[in-house]
């Protein structure tokens, strides 16, 4: 885990006011969007604005991701050609297929070399938002060594499946589980679909907990007011941290005494428990809570 991706906040790519304030809102990642939030007539303007913003705006420690237009649209490739020069942390690819990932990976590499950018600097995040991509997500991930995460896009997915999108999210149980598992095998992040009702904070909390419970490691936000709750859910609690610290302490004490096996709170501590404790502490450290 090189960096925390609890909250990935979408910001419309043609809105200077939102772009220049995005870095102070508490999101771990900011997604500057050239796709759905930008009308067809303004695609060029948003691309120019995002390019300049990447060059001149301070986003502090946030990761900056640019969601390009679909590579099969007239804009997607141009987006890559222009924006790569401004060195975003990553591109987010809508409706990504294996071929898209391969092609974009090559193109980005070519521009990186031409611009003197260290190879493999710019990463890729495919959006899994069709039944096809859920089923083939493993191939999509492995189509490029730049892949660092997958975003689940439930709105398009449920449209593709012709099922109703609900707040409870039973219809995406399988997609969440599958993405979480496969991302884990590649050691990359599984980012949960955004929660659409921006005024329902209790619903957001439940939905976030549900995703986390299935193994999602972060969640996209479509409104800055969603950040705090998502961060809370994905940040280890004080109890969890205390438990983890005690496990590690007990382990070290046991080591000191030359004991191979030991117990904490009456339970045998084995490798998975230690691993879990270490992960909690790593996350807590990255989130700045310890």
């Amino acid at each position: 885990m090189d960096r925390l991706r609890r909250t990935m906040l979408f910001m419309p790519g043609n809105n200077p006011n939102m772009i220049q304030n995005a870095g102070v809102l508490g999101a771990d990642s900011i997604i500057l969007d050239l796709e759905d939030s930008v009308s067809i007539e303004e695609k060029d303007a948003a691309r120019d604005l995002v390019y300049k913003a990447l060059k001149y705006v301070d986003f502090y420690s946030c990761e900056i991701v640019v969601r390009i237009n679909s590579p099969s649209s007239p804009f997607g490739i141009k987006d890559i050609q222009v924006i790569t020069k401004a060195k975003p942390d990553a591109f987010m690819i809508p409706m990504a297929t294996e071929e898209d990932m391969e092609e974009i990976c090559k193109l980005v590499g070519k521009i990186e070399r031409k611009e003197g950018i260290l190879e493999n600097t710019i990463k890729l995040i495919p959006i899994a938002e069709t039944a096809y991509s859920i089923e083939n997500i493993s191939d999509i991930i492995s189509a490029s060594n730049r892949t660092i995460a997958v975003l689940l896009g439930a709105e398009d997915l449920t449209a593709d499946l012709e099922v109703t999108r609900t707040k409870e999210g039973q219809e995406i149980f399988y997609a969440r589980s599958r993405i979480a598992h496969i991302c884990k095998t590649y050691k990359i992040d599984a980012i949960d679909t955004p929660f659409a009702d921006v005024d329902d904070f209790e619903g957001l909390r439940k939905d976030t907990i549900r995703g986390k419970g299935l193994g999602m490691t972060g969640k996209a936000a479509i409104n800055p007011r969603q950040i705090e709750i998502i961060n809370q859910v994905f940040t280890p609690t004080i109890d969890e941290i205390e438990y983890a610290q005690n496990v590690i302490k007990a382990m070290e004490e046991a080591k000191g005494k030359g004991k191979g096996v030991f117990s904490y709170q009456g339970k045998m501590v084995d490798a998975p428990i230690i691993h879990r404790a270490e992960t909690i502490l790593k996350k807590a450290k990255a989130a700045g809570v310890i």
């Binding site: 102070v24 508490g26 800055p224 705090e228």
Partner: protein, 514 residues
Amino acid sequence: MKNSLGREIPDTIKGYYKEVKAFTGAYDNIGDVIKTQVRAKSLMPGKKKLLNSLEEAIKKTGLEDGMTISFHHHLRNGDYVVNMVMDKIASMGIKDIKIASSSLFPIHAPLIDHMKSGVVTGLYASYMSGPVAEAVSEGILENPIIMHTHGGRSRAIESGDIKIDVAFIASPSCDSYGNINGLYGESACGVLGYAISDAHYAEKVVAITDNLVAYPACPIEISQDYVDYIVVVDKIGDPRGIVSGTTRITKDPIGLKIAKTTAQLIEASGLLKDGFSFQTGAGGTSLAVAASVREIMKEKGIKGSFMSGGITGYMVDMLEEGLFDSILDVQCFDLRAIESLKNNKNHQPMSASMYGNPHNKGAVVNNLDVVILGATEIDTDFNVNVTTGSNGVIMGGSGGHSDTAAGAKLAIVVSQLFKGRLPLIADKVTTVSTPGETIDVLVTERGIAVNPRRKDLIERLKDSKIQLVSIEELKEIAERITGKPMEIERDERMVAAIEYRDGTIIDVVRKIKR
């Protein structure tokens, strides 16, 4: 001469009601004071106060060229009374009138014509926005206007600095013998706190009402023993401009972030405990601070003492939830506040003097733990400007800003670090409204700065999660983003003098160079 903030103050101010005294420090002039005498005409039993027309009332008061008249601003941008009275005065051929209105709003634009024609030659206000403020900034009046704080205006009236010849009091409810309240009627505005000193210290008092009720008009906010005449008119105001339907918490993510940070700071300051007293404005960000404080109080089971100032429905909710014991209300901003004032004994009205006058035996602001304040600009000495825009045009005024800052244990300025392209922090603010020695903290979305004078607070926050930066650093952060603005060129000519609450001159506003 220069005052203690380094502001150039002229030795004399044309048309000023007293000798110029330069500001020397926020707490320098507190102690023995003398209140002025008022000439009053006592009334024979059987005599009536209710007159047939405004003209008759103006005649009976003996209003003449050169006199000073006063108004309150509880009807805000829905007020008809100022324009109505001034039009009548003009038509009667009276000139050279000084207006002491607690505030002026865009609706008062017709005053400009009266200024051009010489009917109005002087102005005193604690806050002004709109065309009149712009015209004054352009130098429409020969003499500079004088701007006060809410508490300072009461002080000036009670001390006799401002001698009011006739007070015209817009009265949402009034009986035929001059008992007044703001609670009932089409033009209900709730509290009449800004009109109290006027009623008590004006030589003549005229109540103007559109809602004559049976004697006595209970509850009584301004009582009959101060009122000379009553005039009934069609309408004293437009309810749409008087109160807002609902006041909403901002949805702006930057405002919300500032609010959250501010609440955390208040918690870390140690003041947020049982007995906590709190004042915040009606603006979106200020209300968002209240919302964040409310959450913490609920979570920790803290029971506060009082909230004060201008009151909104949001504060009423907090009162009714039992988070605070009481409200001390100088002005109602919405219908919820008026309803609560009617029905809840723990929701008390107060006068502007009780609220913020530094020269009475103790104002409410002195009992405040925390006040949340806005700013148009703040400088690296923490001096705040809420009077002029950074383009130099008057667009506000202290109101209760300086009073609460001086009184509260913790005065927090909350603002975006830059708005549009204008940075908040300057080397020197365009105009000083509130002195930096009374401002404790600045909270922005990109960092918190504590006034270095508050060593105790800095020490206390060291052990908390609150991270501090210097105000100079914040200024640099902003200027890296916006660039450094060019200074506004100014004329020699003075258009306004800013009186601090104690009656000393804290700054002057000069005309903008075209």
